[in-house]
């Protein structure tokens, strides 16, 4: 037991290391005193100072965060519904409908949404079009994870609750919701990162003058990856961490409350 425990820890730590080594490079080189940013030259905070005066970049970052928060909230809601529906009612068309957006190459998704918004709905592009697009490609991820949570669950729990006269809503609140809560948290986080990282689809559906961080960074990177790009990435991570920690303080039973 002890030995297998040790190897388990070692393997898990190795995976964490794999996840964090490139990140360490990102953070470290945001303090690098070199435009070329190929090797360590010296410590500086000037990129952060520059960033604070870069309105385009800050505005793009704010847009990205807001879009990510809003789209992942809605995607979590709709995805959870889809996951529940697939598990309980097994409509044949739903898995197809939920999985295809995940399977569709993102360029095609981007072009199709742009065509649809402009030439079918005649909508002017803006934050709304980005939101709708991000929700569309995130729903599948949430639904899959919620269904994985419910898979193999004993239906008798739900039935018992119902037989005790609980309304469907009460059954959901007391039994189903606590059960799928970890999946909702994980699904939300996945949707959040999908949204905040998306370049291809956003490129197509973004309206005039609406910029997100990946769009901004992509257009800069073609010219050169200055440490400023590293700095904004570092800040974004710090901000995400703070937001989530605050959220978990404000609503401890939302994040932590499970049966």
């Amino acid at each position: 037991m002890k030995r297998s425990q040790f190897w388990l820890w070692a393997a898990a730590l190795a995976t964490y290391a794999f996840l964090y080594i490139p990140l360490a490079v990102v953070v470290l080189f945001s303090f690098n005193d070199s435009v070329l940013n190929a090797e360590w030259v010296g410590f500086t905070t000037r990129w952060y100072v520059k960033l604070l005066h870069d309105d385009d970049m800050l505005h793009a970052a704010a847009n990205s965060l807001l879009i990510a928060l809003a789209s992942s909230s809605v995607a979590t809601l709709l995805g959870a519904m889809a996951g529940l529906a697939m598990h309980r009612y097994r409509p044949r068309w739903l898995p197809f409908l939920v999985l295809t957006p995940v399977a569709m190459p993102e360029i095609l998704l981007g072009v199709s949404l742009l065509l649809f918004f402009r030439q079918v709905l005649d909508l002017s592009l803006g934050l709304f079009s980005i939101l709708a697009a991000h929700i569309t490609f995130s729903i599948g991820f949430v639904a899959v994870i919620v269904r994985a949570r419910l898979a193999g669950m004993d239906e008798s729990t739900f039935e018992a609750a119902r037989n005790l006269g609980a309304t469907p809503w009460a059954t959901f609140r007391r039994v189903t919701l606590p059960l799928i809560m970890p999946a909702l948290v994980a699904g939300f986080l996945m949707a959040f990162t999908l949204s905040i990282d998306d370049f291809v689809i956003t490129f197509f559906v973004a309206g005039v003058g609406v910029n997100t961080l990946p769009l901004q960074i992509y257009s800069m990177i073609k010219v050169a990856v200055t440490p400023e790009v590293n700095a904004i990435s570092t800040l974004l991570m710090a901000l995400t961490l703070t937001l989530i920690l605050i959220a978990s303080r404000i609503a401890p039973d939302v994040l932590k409350g499970r049966a």
Binding site: S34, V35, L36, A38, E39, V41, A62, N63, L66, I67, L69, A70, S73, V74, V111, L114, L115, F117, R118, Q119, S124, L125, G126, L127, L131, F203, F204, A206, G207, V208, G209, V210, N211, L215, Q216, Y218, S219, M220, I221, K222, V223, A224, V225
Partner: protein, 352 residues
Amino acid sequence: MALVLTALLLLASLPLRAADTLYLYNWNNYISEDTVRRFEAHCRCRLKQDYYSDNEEMLAKLEAGAVGYDILVPTGNAVESLVRRKALREIDKARLPHFGNVKREFLDIWFDPGNRYSVPYATSVSLLGYNADKMRELGLPTDTWALIFEPKHLKKIKGRVTVLNSQRELMAAAMKYLGYSVQEHEPARWEEAKQLILRAKPYWAAFSNSTYIKDLAIGTVWVAHGYSNDMFRAQQDAAAAKRPFQIGFATPKEGAVLAVDNFVLHQSGRRPDLAHQFIDFMLAGENAADVSNLIGAGNTNAAATPHILPEIAANPGIFPPPDELQRLEMLRDFDPKLRRTLSRMWTEIKVR
């Protein structure tokens, strides 16, 4: 609750569409912040830019129906395509007092006879950038495409070469080396270019459209096929980082691809008045010089010359001398059938 909150925040962050805003769909870093500010003061309006990093990205987005851009900055072949699709608004030259500043050799080109729709702004050449010290050490020629196509040279620099990840650009370079036009229509000649590329490919490290700037500057790549302004950037970066070598770039003697970027007015723009004002502003010498000083692009504006840093103005890779200009050719769009044939060849190049 959280939803309502985010919805509110979103509404608050919606950009207020100011009445006096000019929307520019542009290459990144093509106009300096300083010039943007001066223009905003000049027109008492706002200038907002969205960016693309490739003509095709911009064309695909417009093709699918994106609207609202006043000005685009497409390269010649993209101008032709936009004109043919009736996506552009005619330019009223009476509103461009500075139009006469444009160098004559860049006017009245095939993509827009009579410049009804476009005003040239900047140029770049697809050429070879190289680590000058290494080339000298290995005794390699730097003024010919043979450097990236001939195995006898390549075997000295195996794995240290990158070429553009672009079917049009790379195949055009091969065509130039073979002595053909880049606007050739005969598939058999393109087939020859494909064979040439396949023979050289084992010696190349990667197809790269952007990473080569850094790879050259830090010294991991010795020869790169790329754009003159990117090579200029690599050269500057290497010098700034006090690298023990210098980056050089030169147009191969067989000729190369020239790109001319132009201001055009998109049909969907709401403010043609501001757009004309902007183009005329950018035609003034000191503003036109911007793009050369900023990123080392070639300039199509005669009045800009005195404002361009001398080391840039004197660089033949950036400003091709007249005899060299003769050997440069612009890419031109092909018909769908040839496009598909070339794409098939390109796929084969990638797979083999």
